[in-house]
């Protein structure tokens, strides 16, 4: 590698900011996990504000809106920010704490603000008003029908998002629009690019979150054609425990995770219910044991003890999440437990993942979706532990992806089946078997 990561990343950001002034109608920025997407949004906001352009920012959830407000207010206190919100919204502490932020339910009350920020759902309720620029965050998680509803509000837009994460979904199954360029079920970015193929597309090249042990694995499995690298080198990130292990399988898995960044805690093969009691217990126990051993994380940012708020547990289904929460009990208080959908965009030091295919009899499209595994395997700064029953590679072999191929629909890469195999092949090198 010839260019150091910071220079490479800066070059892309500079190119994006230059494109903002170049008269393009839209600009797309693809960002792998932890590649500084939010930082880019903040910089682009400041860049547009400095140029005197009024900007609207579209995020997908209230949480994301508040995150962005906090960052913008901290970094650029001189930029006036308006938060447009629904009637029932009570501003969170961090929004109220920022003096440059004004909260209102009507766009008219925010007419003086350089930047107005709201969720896509709130923007969609507006029937008039127009902003010269929009910044759409997490644009790959927004459905294209939502973009259709808000696109009248802006003239130009910067779309930022992670193409490797979960695609948006619908509660109804309709094939009627398959293959149409404006299929409302597709993501906002894919519809945008289908109609405007000449828009510039940039890619952030460096993941600052993922450690050197994880970036190549995630890049190979989920971003096979574009790739990215880690901002830190081998050895820059270390995880140490205050207490030594007792040689149990849990401790051995934790030691493996500390030394290599990955661990696969493998339970004996068995077909199980979704809320597989053994797997749930093991997932919770690993997280609790991790905290008990007093982990300390060393990184380019210094050293700090890893407490419960820096640990997350991820699973595929909500009932699994509830079962794991119950199994954690009070020892695991403060640990985040959530589904892949809700962990999107979040970052922790250590994650424990219940593998979506663990104990299953079949591999459905839901469980094979590459984005689900990608989210679960790319939330950590130091280490990721995966709990799974043995036999997933065989399950995958028995269920090759057999989704029909439709005319006019771009082939989805990476293929979920292949991505799953790639991740499992890597995890197999870090396997610790539970005692049967």
């Amino acid at each position: 590698m010839t260019v150091d990561p910071a220079t490479a990343a800066d070059a892309v950001v500079a190119a994006v900011l230059a494109d903002l002034d170049a008269g393009h109608r839209g600009i797309v920025v693809d960002s792998p996990p932890g590649a500084g997407k939010s930082t880019l949004v903040v910089r682009a906001t400041a860049h547009l504000a400095a140029a005197g352009e009024r900007t609207m920012i579209v995020a997908q959830t209230n949480e994301q809106v508040d995150d962005l407000i906090e960052r913008i207010a901290a970094r650029h206190p001189d930029v006036t920010v308006g938060r447009l919100s629904a009637a029932g919204y009570a501003p969170s502490e961090r929004v109220r704490a920022a003096p440059s932020v004004k909260v209102a339910g009507k766009a008219d009350d925010l007419a003086d603000r350089a930047v107005v920020i709201a969720t896509a759902a709130k923007w969609a309720t507006l029937s008039e008003g127009s902003w010269p620029w929009a910044i759409v965050d997490e644009a790959y998680q927004m459905r294209s029908d939502m973009l259709l509803r808000i696109a009248g509000r802006f003239e130009r837009a910067l779309f930022v998002g992670d193409p490797g994460q979960l695609d948006p979904f619908s509660t109804v199954e309709v094939e009627r629009w398959t293959g149409l360029a404006w299929d409302p079920m597709r993501s906002a970015v894919s519809v945008l690019l289908a109609h405007n193929p000449n828009l510039p597309v940039h890619r952030l090249p460096v993941s600052w979150r993922l450690p050197a042990s994880a970036a190549p694995v995630v890049a190979r499995a989920f971003y096979p054609f574009t790739g990215f690298r880690s901002g830190t080198g081998p050895g820059d990130r270390r995880l140490e425990y205050g207490a030594g292990g007792m040689g149990t399988t849990y401790d051995r898995a934790l030691d493996e995770a500390a030394s290599s960044g990955w661990a696969l805690y493998e339970l004996p093969a068995r077909h199980a219910l979704r809320t597989d009691a053994e797997a749930v217990r093991a997932t919770a126990a690993l997280a609790v044991r991790l905290l008990q051993r007093g982990p300390v994380a060393h990184s380019e940012l210094g050293s700090h003890p890893v407490r419960a708020d820096r640990v997350a547990i991820g699973a595929a289904h909500r009932d699994q999440v509830t079962a794991i929460r119950a199994a954690l009990g009070e020892h695991g208080e403060g640990i985040t437990v959530d589904t892949a959908n809700r962990l999107q965009g979040r970052e922790y030091d250590v994650t424990v993942v219940l593998h979506p295919l663990s104990g299953r009899r079949d591999a459905t499209a839901f469980h094979l979706e590459a984005g689900r595994l990608c989210v679960l395997a790319s939330r950590h700064r130091h280490a990721c532990l995966v709990v799974a029953r043995a036999g997933i590679p065989e399950l995958l072999d028995a269920h090759p992806s057999a989704e029909p191929v439709h005319l006019g629909v771009p082939v989805k890469f990476p293929d979920g089946w292949e991505a799953n195999q790639a991740v499992l092949a890597h995890l197999a090198e870090h396997r610790v078997r539970a005692e049967a």
């Binding site: 029937s127 259709l148 509660t171 404006w182 079920m185 109609h195």
Partner: protein, 488 residues
């Protein structure tokens, strides 16, 4: 498959007979349905072979195409079918009820009746959709002119097919699907798609059990397929020679084809009516009438604008697609919620998932006021003893399944008890309307399932389609090229 459905199927295997999945009927049954059993020619996606249809059990009407590869004969068939269907549609609509003026001052009416097509399976529905697509663009003048009933048939069939995408609509019923909504069998879902086998599990003939009846049903020699595909052996041994005789101009050959097809259709005809009897024996769910009203609204609108309308476009525009998806998602949500409210067996599924809980009210404070704000607010509280594995967090919004308008939130949960605070649907005064707050000792079910989370949404007009979606589309004008579509 949900846990309760899986359990019901296992029980069905053990009992060798289907098990109920519902205590009430979740689809509307018309008093005058039109049963339609289409058949198509093997190897031709869109070539109709025959259809048996009618609204009376003992008077099936058989329409057939003696040579399905002959374009003129096919259109003659489509015209005949169109006439029967249009006649039925007209007869089914009843009278127009006046609903008073709308907000914009326009007069609103709703027909008291609506047509209901009953097909044996989803394959039949898909075939009607295809037949609709291939007939609605035909021209009634110029080259290749067809009878006016042909494009009219196409537009109606397309409307039925599109309306069927809407969850909870009963205008077109596929019997296998309707039965599966109410019963679980001990066979796979692929096997359930066979109407005869499904009925064999639900209502086996005397002396047989489910698997035995299903085995008979799977033998095409004893039970001809319910269409739209025909039995290949019948095709080779009976149908092909009969069509060949017709091609040669043999005497009575057309009648021979018809009689051969009648043997294939008559058993399914009988099965369809038996299936309707089984469904009719279930009491109707409380929300079914409301959903049928929406169906009648849609029918009224389509019927009244039919004369000035044009054939439905081949593809939805960007705005049209987004609007339709929104409507479907709203309908889906309210259909699922209404089914749970109507049927304790469906609600049990949510209780098992932890999204609902049922139990006895142990304490009720119906006139509790929350006086922390500027003005006092009526906030009755209930303590409910429950053994359900609740997975809702405190603060979650719930509603009373028996009175979905009564909303509340969970305050505390633990040790087999839930404390619920009611927040809405109690009337406007500071004392609750009678009958809204359950009393101590009452059995209640509260759930987070709701039918109103999708509000109405605002979409741009067609001519304002944004640049992200390709800009405004050219207006659709039917022209001669539409008719250029191939028939099969």
């Amino acid at each position: 498959m949900s846990a309760l459905t899986a359990l019901a199927r296992l029980e069905a295997v053990a009992a060798r007979r289907a098990r109920p999945l519902a205590t009430v009927r979740h689809c509307h049954l018309s008093a005058t349905p039109l049963v339609v059993i289409p058949l198509r020619l093997a190897g031709e996606a869109g070539a109709p072979l025959a259809v048996m249809l009618g609204g009376a059990r003992d008077e099936p009407v058989l329409l057939a195409v003696p040579q399905p590869r002959n374009r003129d004969l096919r259109f003659a068939f489509a015209a005949e079918l169109g006439k029967v269907l249009l006649e039925y549609v007209e007869a089914s609509r009843g009278v127009a009820e006046d609903l008073g003026p709308s907000k914009d001052g326009e007069d609103r009416v709703r027909y008291t009746g609506a047509p209901q097509l009953v097909l044996p399976n989803t394959g039949g529905v898909a075939f009607l959709r295809l037949l609709g697509r291939s007939t609605r663009f035909r021209r009634t003048e110029g080259e290749h002119a067809v009878e006016p009933a042909v494009p009219a048939l196409g537009r109606w069939l397309t409307w039925f097919a599109e309306r069927r995408d809407r969850p909870g609509s009963s205008l077109t019923l596929a019997l296998t699907e309707a039965l599966r909504l109410h019963w679980a069998t001990g066979q796979s879902s692929v096997e359930d798609a066979n109407l005869a086998a499904l009925l064999g599990w639900i209502d086996p003939p005397d002396g047989l059990d489910g698997p035995a009846a299903a085995t008979i049903a799977e033998d095409p020699a004893r039970t001809p397929p319910a269409g739209p595909a025909t039995d290949p052996k019948f095709d080779n041994d009976v149908l092909a020679p009969a069509i060949a005789a017709f091609d040669e101009g043999a005497d009575g050959a057309g009648e021979r084809v018809r009689e051969a097809l009648r043997t294939q259709l008559a058993p399914t005809w009988e099965l369809c009516w038996r299936a309707l009897d089984l469904l009719a024996a279930l009491p109707e769910g409380a929300s079914v009438a409301g959903r049928w009203e929406r169906d009648r609204d849609a029918f009224t609108h389509f019927h009244q604008t039919f004369a000035e309308g044009v054939p439905q476009a081949r593809r939805d525009s960007a705005v049209g697609a987004a609007r339709r998806l929104h409507r479907l998602e709203r309908a889906q949500e309210s259909y699922e919620a209404q089914r749970a409210f109507d049927d304790p067996l469906v609600m049990a599924e949510y209780r098992l998932e932890g999204l609902a809980f049922g139990g006895t009210v142990t304490e009720a404070d119906p006139e509790r006021l929350d006086e922390s704000g500027k003005r006092p607010k009526l906030r009755p509280r209930l303590r409910v003893a429950t053994e359900d594995p609740l997975r809702l967090e405190p603060g979650a919004t719930v509603c009373d399944a028996a009175r979905p308008k009564v909303k509340g939130k969970i305050v505390e949960y633990g040790a087999g008890e839930v404390l619920v605070e009611l927040t809405g649907g109690l009337g406007k005064k500071l004392t609750p309307e009678p009958g809204t707050v359950p009393e101590a000792g009452a059995r209640v079910v509260f759930t987070s399932v709701t039918e109103g989370s999708f509000g109405p949404a605002r979409f741009p007009e067609h001519e304002e389609t944004p640049w992200t979606h390709g800009g405004p589309p050219a207006e659709y004008v039917p022209d001669a090229r539409d008719a250029g579509e191939a028939w099969s």
